[in-house]
Symmetry: C2
Subunit: 351 residues, 2 copies
Amino acid sequence: MKKGGKKMEETGEKKQYVTIKDIAEYVGVSTATVSLALSRNPRIPDETREKIIDAAKKLGYRPSTLARGLVKNKTYTIALVIPQIKRIFVQAYFALSVSGVYDELTEHGYKLLLEMASYEFVRRKRYLRLFRERSIDGMIYIGSTLYDTYLKEILEEGYPFVFVGSYLPDIKIPYVTGDNFKGGYIATKHLISCGYKRIGLITGSLNVVSAVDRFKGYKKALKENGFGFNPKFVEKGHFSEEGGYEAMKKLIKKKVDAVFAGNDLMAQGAYRAIKESGLRIPQDIGVVGMDDLPSASLLDPPLTTVKYPIYEMGRVGVKKLIEMSEKGIISYFEEVLPVKLIFRKSTSKVR
Amino acid sequence: MKKGGKKMEETGEKKQYVTIKDIAEYVGVSTATVSLALSRNPRIPDETREKIIDAAKKLGYRPSTLARGLVKNKTYTIALVIPQIKRIFVQAYFALSVSGVYDELTEHGYKLLLEMASYEFVRRKRYLRLFRERSIDGMIYIGSTLYDTYLKEILEEGYPFVFVGSYLPDIKIPYVTGDNFKGGYIATKHLISCGYKRIGLITGSLNVVSAVDRFKGYKKALKENGFGFNPKFVEKGHFSEEGGYEAMKKLIKKKVDAVFAGNDLMAQGAYRAIKESGLRIPQDIGVVGMDDLPSASLLDPPLTTVKYPIYEMGRVGVKKLIEMSEKGIISYFEEVLPVKLIFRKSTSKVR
DNA sequence: ATATTTTAGTTAAACGTTTAACTGAAAATG
DNA sequence: CATTTTCAGTTAAACGTTTAACTAAAATAT
């Protein structure tokens, strides 16, 4: 055989996928019928549907997400934007976030495109391009507040977007977060009810709203219980272990007998400072953290802290986002998830 | 107004994108010309090309990745598979990997689909489905060895796949990794040259090849320098801080005067055990870690360690993968990147 | 028996690109 | 001047789905 053969007709080594057309031929129906049957459209009677599904299985059919996406104008993919990893102090925090986002997405049959909010990401407007090029149906933004004003553009063009874990006080971007105010409040109140009298605060950077809200909760609890608010008892720890350590050293000099650390990492730094100066936790100084990262229970002594619903926030954010995308309605919302005190060994009744 | 309106026909707010057709009409040429011009095909003279590019810019054109992908049978997306985050001890390690992968991908104009090697991932054969549904052009697998035998299927179907950071001794899957053997070797040799005499090893789990290779390097260095290998000096630390701590406690009882910890995290655990028992680093016990995570230099004293090229491995893995995908040639390779000793303060000449 | 409705499909357009093959005019060649 | 080559495009098919609109036959209603 093999005579001539115009062009590359029989050399066709190109990876061949099973398409809806193959199924149609195999079963002896049109491609439309196959498509309808596979999407369980009731217009196709059970018998035919069965036959088609069987054939699809036998032939090893898998639909092309590209073809489907093209006609439906949906990609079933959302982008998750996280801060540049080099900058991340609290990796466990982001690991948890990502986990929540991933789990919720896959349960809905969506895929997760990971993006890092680098300088290039912003300069080249990737956050817009991904939408404009129809690579994603929506976007979740976690953490950083660096260039966030740019994100207004996304909303202006009407794309589904959700902020998780933080929010922007000046721009109306839908967000889900944990109850930072209440977190600061119950942490401080807990220290008060333990009998501590000179309660310090190690706060995260105050250009981040969550830190500000935790701060406010701390203040409120003090005032409500007849404690004066003393600005001397507040030190910045910049969210890092090292920052917590330095802040605690200063607070020890000011003779605090308890401290609320704005996150577990800074609490860990505080532990180090306290131990170095020969003081005991919780007898000499009580410590409450916030976040309840997995490491919190491994500290010595195990850290009393406020559980911040990081994983859950990721899930809720995705759920809301998918809702928006599928209904085609972009709406503003504020979702604040509850926090709760996890009582361990770094605080106890004094005297 | 607002009178009836059949269904949602005239509410047709469906987001409208600028297409190649719009540009064609605007400039007064065919869509083919636009396509060719935009891809800088030399068949289109400069003048026309300019006009088309200008029009594209003015109209705000962005190509549909879906349409392009459909015809080119490429998605410019690769999947990065990491172990389930709950299981990750060494988050910094994965953060670095992801970073390397992301950076290299974006430089090539690719996107990063994140996947977690959960039980579901394996059971539902997502790793195959992503390929079959044309969602990705290639896959990078980092870390876990849990269900890796399944991955053979991917290679069998001829999809581009690269293993990063580890490899499978029994299956020929292309990989890039760091020189684990040499790492163990130079770490141990360094301890010897410092004058330490009773050198212990805290090893990671031995079902992971990297741990095995580091172990072998340790052994080789001992033998080459006339030290007998004493199995009593080897303890398992399971890659975790806690594991390192427990292992070190045992080694202290056996009077080691130095230890090579199979990663920085276990070294950190070792620090804790050593300090608790009142011994000094490096005077009483020298410690060498491996990986050189950002935290290593923050320990007290800063940890002497072997830099493992985690970030670089991610980059190289991606480069190789893209090469494979674009050339359409799936080939086996083993890429072993160099390691080097980072000399800090946890080791020093003794006596 | 005829008209109407339902059933079980089919046809063909659409999604937005790329690209092989074609075309008509201008330029180069002999 | 006739012929060939180059230039500057165009046409149309292809990628693999979905879906609105159509149809022919069967079932039901009048």
